[in-house]
């Protein structure tokens, strides 16, 4: 047992155990931290691919028909391929791996005081499957006839029939990539759930678990309970594509709308699958830097559960005008608008947490606060789309695009940045440079609003999605609207130009940054009691837990924090 060994002579032990060669250490490891890094770095690399795609199609929209620097002329087929894969990559290969698998792997065992996940080899297998899905995805972009271009929702018959989509190989590989990715996350999810349920430190009761662990576990359960029908649907669509079955083929007794139900039964909970971990990260960061106990911890957990349960009953709001029974729309309007109740409650509680605090605007805190500020706009604009009457107009316009980017960007970028900067000292034992961290923060947040606020207006003007050039629509090709498209594109280019600041700062700080001690932020949760970075096995002796995670500024104590593992 390595842990007992480490207990005797920690440094020597660590070396003896880690002299395994570079490949074994970083590619074949079962250490949850290494697997977390694998997910996180793969996700971040793919984020660059997704961002490049956004750059190409935004340039095409701003300057239609002109060669895009770094790409060339954008054909309609390429445009469809770019938007489809931008969406697929950002959700399935960036938000999911980084937020759930990346942070989940890295922080769950550390936060609950365990030495690893309960099934380390299953964990490794999960990443390997994920990696295969990445290869399949990249292959789908490079094959003959180009990548799949039927939108990330892949509605049949367009996605099912090669005579309609003209990308036989690309669509099949794309679908396979998504299906393999689901299996990878199912394996990972089981691991997260069981680890958090069963491997907690002695003394850690359910309500002593940090919010971020709760959110990742509930997100995993949501994912597991919602993805099944789509896994079955993916098999059916694959058969339709390759064998010529007729599950979704209306000419042979199939039903194309069925896919939409299977897809959105997963697709809507999926939004909360990525939202919840983001809210969790923000809860950790806000409490630490406001030096405050989370306002009503249990309420937060109940709102998380309520959101999760409700999210299973809202899916058809994506299909109001898709040809479903119009009476169904009324039911789904009620459920959809009602989801604002737990989400609003959650936002109120987070805001209330600031009350009476002692707020330090460090880089992670700036990101966390920005998450709240931006996400609220994403949240309220969702009400327009949930209101069936208004959605008749707004459905599939740029208003929708702007709305979900105001939710997904805060989730997949802002909250991730908050987590990355917050746990950076733990991960690498060094501090991230604050000055350049803040430069990157402002250089990302300001242009972000510059990109998407014009898109709300364009959507209100009736601009519909997935069009490579608006010249065919005289009312949308006016100079005023075109100016807004240019503004959005320029904002995007500015935002992308600020990203190297982060990459350089990240890499330089990783090797040259100021050394960090075990607990640089003076935080309570257990990961801060391990070394920075923690060795394989995390602690020489696993910690016990004596209290909840948010006991900051307790009256009568000299210190304004009270680590969970400190006896009395």
């Amino acid at each position: 047992m390595s842990n007992q060994h480490d207990a005797h002579d920690h440094h020597a032990g660590a070396h003896a155990h880690h002299d395994e060669g570079w490949f074994k250490k970083y590619f074949w490891s079962t250490d949850h931290k290494i697997i977390g890094f694998q997910y996180m770095f793969t996700g971040m690399l793919l984020a660059l691919v997704g961002a490049f795609m956004a750059y190409v199609f935004r340039m095409q929209l701003a300057f239609p028909g002109q060669a895009v620097p770094g790409w060339g002329l954008v054909s309609p087929g390429q445009y469809n391929m770019l938007i489809t894969n931008h969406g697929s990559i950002m959700i399935f290969w960036v938000a999911m791996p980084v937020l759930i698998a990346g942070f989940g792997n890295y922080i769950i065992p550390l936060m609950i005081g365990a030495d690893d996940m309960v099934f380390p080899r299953l964990n490794r297998l999960s990443y390997q499957l994920f990696f295969i899905s990445v290869l399949l995805l990249i292959a789908s972009l490079l094959v003959q006839n180009g990548g799949f271009g039927g939108a990330w929702t892949a509605y049949p018959p367009l996605s099912a029939n090669k005579d309609f989509n003209l990308t036989p190989l690309g669509s099949t590989l794309w679908l396979l990539a998504v299906a393999v990715e689901f299996v990878a996350f199912l394996l990972g999810g089981i691991n997260f759930i069981v680890t958090a349920m069963n491997a907690r430190a002695p003394g850690m009761k359910a309500f002593d678990v940090p919010i971020v662990v709760w959110t990742i576990v509930i997100a995993s359960i949501l994912f597991m309970a919602s993805v099944g029908p789509l896994v079955a649907g993916a098999v059916m669509l694959l058969f339709d594509q390759t064998l010529g079955t007729s599950f979704f083929n209306p000419n042979k007794g199939g039903d194309p709308i069925l896919w939409q139900h299977l897809f959105w039964f997963f697709g809507h909970p999926e939004v909360y699958v990525v939202l919840l971990p983001a809210m969790g990260i923000v809860a950790e960061v806000m409490t630490v830097f406001a030096r405050k106990k989370l306002f009503a911890y249990k309420t937060v957990i109940y709102t998380i559960i309520a959101t999760g349960v409700l999210s299973f009953f809202v899916w058809a709001h994506h299909q109001f005008v898709a040809g479903i029974d119009p009476r169904m729309a009324n039911v789904f309007t009620v459920t959809t608008v009602l989801i604002s109740i737990p989400i609003a409650e959650m936002c109120f509680v987070y805001i209330a947490t600031l009350y009476g605090g002692s707020i330090r605007l460090t880089t992670p805190m700036l990101w966390a606060l920005a998450f709240m500020a931006e996400f609220m706009l994403g949240g309220v604009t969702g009400i327009y789309l949930g209101s069936s009457g208004a959605d008749i107009f707004f459905h599939d316009t740029y208003f929708v695009v702007a709305h979900f980017h105001y939710t997904f960007f805060p989730i997949a970028i802002i909250a991730v940045m908050s987590g990355v900067t917050y746990w950076f000292p733990k991960m690498f034992g060094r501090h991230l440079n604050e000055f350049w961290g803040k430069v990157h923060f402002w250089g990302t947040i300001i242009p972000f609003n510059g990109i998407f606020i014009p898109l709300f207006i364009l959507g209100a003007a009736g601009e519909h999605r997935r069009i490579f050039d608006y010249h065919s629509f005289p009312h949308l090709a006016t100079p005023e609207l075109q100016a807004m498209r240019v503004f959005a594109t320029v904002s995007l280019v500015v935002m992308l130009a600020f990203q190297p600041v982060f990459i350089v700062n990240y890499l330089v700080s990783m090797f040259r940054g100021k050394k960090a001690d075990k607990n640089p932020w003076k935080a309570n949760t257990l990961e801060w009691t391990a070394d920075s970075p923690p060795p394989h096995g995390n602690w020489p002796e696993l910690p016990n837990c004596y209290r909840g995670p948010y006991e900051y500024s307790v009256e009568g104590r000299e210190l304004d924090y009270w680590p969970q593992n400190e006896k009395a």
Binding site: G77, N80, G149, A151, P157, L158, P250, N251, K293, L294, F295, A296, Y297, T299, F320, V321, A322, G323, P326, A329, T333, V334, V337, A344, E345, F348, I351, L354, G356, G357, S358, I359, L369, A373, M376, V380, T381, I383, Y384, S387, S388, G389, A390, I392, F393, D396, I457, A460, G462, H464, R465, F468, D469, S472, P474, H475, Y552, S553, E555, D560
Partner: protein, 249 residues
């Protein structure tokens, strides 16, 4: 708010616009209140030398009110929004006022074809007028449209009418609109339908009874002239031609 960017040219366009206003006011209130509170708290409770944060669990009654009361109000506002949304929805999608005229709208990769019932106002007769990429309707008349698709999903979207409906192959959907303002408007395809999705538009002409009569006269079907549908599919949708394409069904 929408009428700032788009003319409201159908009887129910105003209802949608009012609903959008209502939602804007109700959620706008919460958005501004929440953001204002948020930034004020950040400013008020910024870290100060020697001032320790307070220990608040969230169970204190006088503080909990600040969550509970807004929470109840959100629920109340939600009820208003739901009622207003469903009223508009039922009016547009769940009721079918008796039609003055019924047209047929057929979507295919990547063009819209329309069948006007012609002078006898009934579909399926010899004087039906088939047009591609142009739809002529008469102002202040209630129209039913029978929407169908020949291949993949499309979506029949007229922004000026605030009207949108997906066309599903294998199904015929019946909807309605009543134009109230003459003019030329865009018809768009709002559901991705392949590489030609970006050019799948059509022109909607709302005109007076006299103008329509003149148009009908000029486009009375030429018997025997059969344009094959393949031609329509391949030569793209940007052609503004009005052809007598027979054999639609």
């Amino acid at each position: 708010m929408l009428e700032r960017f788009l003319p409201a040219a159908a009887s129910y366009a105003g209802d949608v616009d009012q609903l959008v206003w209502l939602v804007t006011i109700l959620v706008g209130f919460w958005f501004i209140a929440a953001e204002a509170m948020f930034f004020w708290l950040i400013f008020k409770f910024r870290a100060k030398e020697g001032v320790k944060a307070q220990y608040i669990t969230g169970k204190e009654k006088h503080l909990k009110q600040w969550i509970n009361i807004p929470h109840g109000l959100v629920l109340l506002f939600d009820v208003f929004i739901i009622i207003a949304a469903i009223r508009v929805w039922v009016h547009i999608k769940q009721t079918l006022p008796p039609p003055d005229r019924t047209i047929q709208v057929t979507a295919q990769q990547w063009a819209w074809t329309f069948t006007d019932p012609g002078a006898d106002d009934s579909l399926g007769t010899a004087d039906d007028v088939h047009t591609t990429d142009q739809l002529h309707v008469e102002v202040d008349k209630t129209y039913h449209f029978k929407l169908e698709s020949k291949d993949v999903l499309h979506s029949f979207f007229i922004p000026a009418f605030r009207m949108k409906q997906d066309a599903v192959p294998g199904r015929i959907y019946t909807g309605w609109f009543k134009p109230t303002q003459t003019g030329d408007y865009d018809i768009l395809c709002a559901e991705i339908c392949g590489i030609g999705h970006g050019v799948m538009g059509a022109k909607l002409v709302v005109e007076t009874a006299e103008e329509r009569a003149a148009w009908l006269q000029a486009h009375a079907p030429v018997v025997e002239e059969v344009a094959s549908t393949e031609d329509v599919a391949t030569d793209g949708a940007s052609t503004d031609s009005t052809s007598a394409a027979a054999g639609q069904q």
